[in-house]
Subunit: 133 residues, 2 copies
């Protein structure tokens, strides 16, 4: 069982040099994966304490699958792995940012990023559609 | 009261051209703000249906403050506004990505991004510390 010290309050949490993740009521922190080379935001997933520890130890992005209720090493089945270049935490440590080297598409639809649709008042448009030149 | 049609299942949700946000049990979707010019990930926040509608309508990033339990127009107090250049939704529409023009720091600590600390096995380091050159 992975154990981290509990989060501090306010400014102490913002400035601590200790990893003190602030897990939600499901025991998870949000994890943003970003392509380390291009800056493209690839996906948003979730990490349990165990998933965070494994990611830090192995350098392979490892999440908690909320639908399957289990640890999920990204790409274990698909081969679309994420090698972690850098992990950052946000001010209150309830979110982490992974800068990764993505192999294949990050999205289960096969696309590079999960964020392939642009929203506006009229609905959604596929990114890349209708672009001039 | 803002109302969106309910999410579809599986592939239908992945491919729909309708905005059908998949709100969590608190009625929220995760919202990642990214600097439209530099690609820097600035913060992770949350949006209610109302916050999402207001963001789409006004072009000003508007979130749901979980701590205060109210709609929060980013920068309304601090002046550190986010002008939305583009909004994207992810495959299952439980997360949105805002590409923004950030005025001032996005973080309440005054920093440009909330993700200012790098995590490794030994703890946290401020980004920019200990860098050569």
């Amino acid at each position: 069982m992975t154990h981290y010290p509990p989060p501090l309050s306010g400014r102490a949490q913002d400035e601590t040099r200790e990893l003190r993740p602030k897990f939600n009521s499901d025991g998870l922190v949000a994890a943003i994966a970003q392509d380390a080379a291009t800056g493209e935001v690839l996906m948003l997933a979730w990490m349990s304490a165990e998933a965070l520890r494994l990611t830090l130890e192995t350098g392979k992005a490892t999440y908690w699958s909320r639908s399957r209720g289990e640890i999920w090493v990204k790409g274990e089945t698909s081969g679309h792995t994420q090698d972690v270049v850098e992990i950052r935490v946000d001010c209150d440590q309830d979110a982490v940012l992974l800068k990764v080297r993505q192999t294949g598409g990050a999205c289960h639809t096969g696309r590079q990023s999960c964020f392939y649709r642009i929203a506006d008042a009229s609905g959604l448009t596929l990114a890349g559609e209708g672009e001039a030149g």
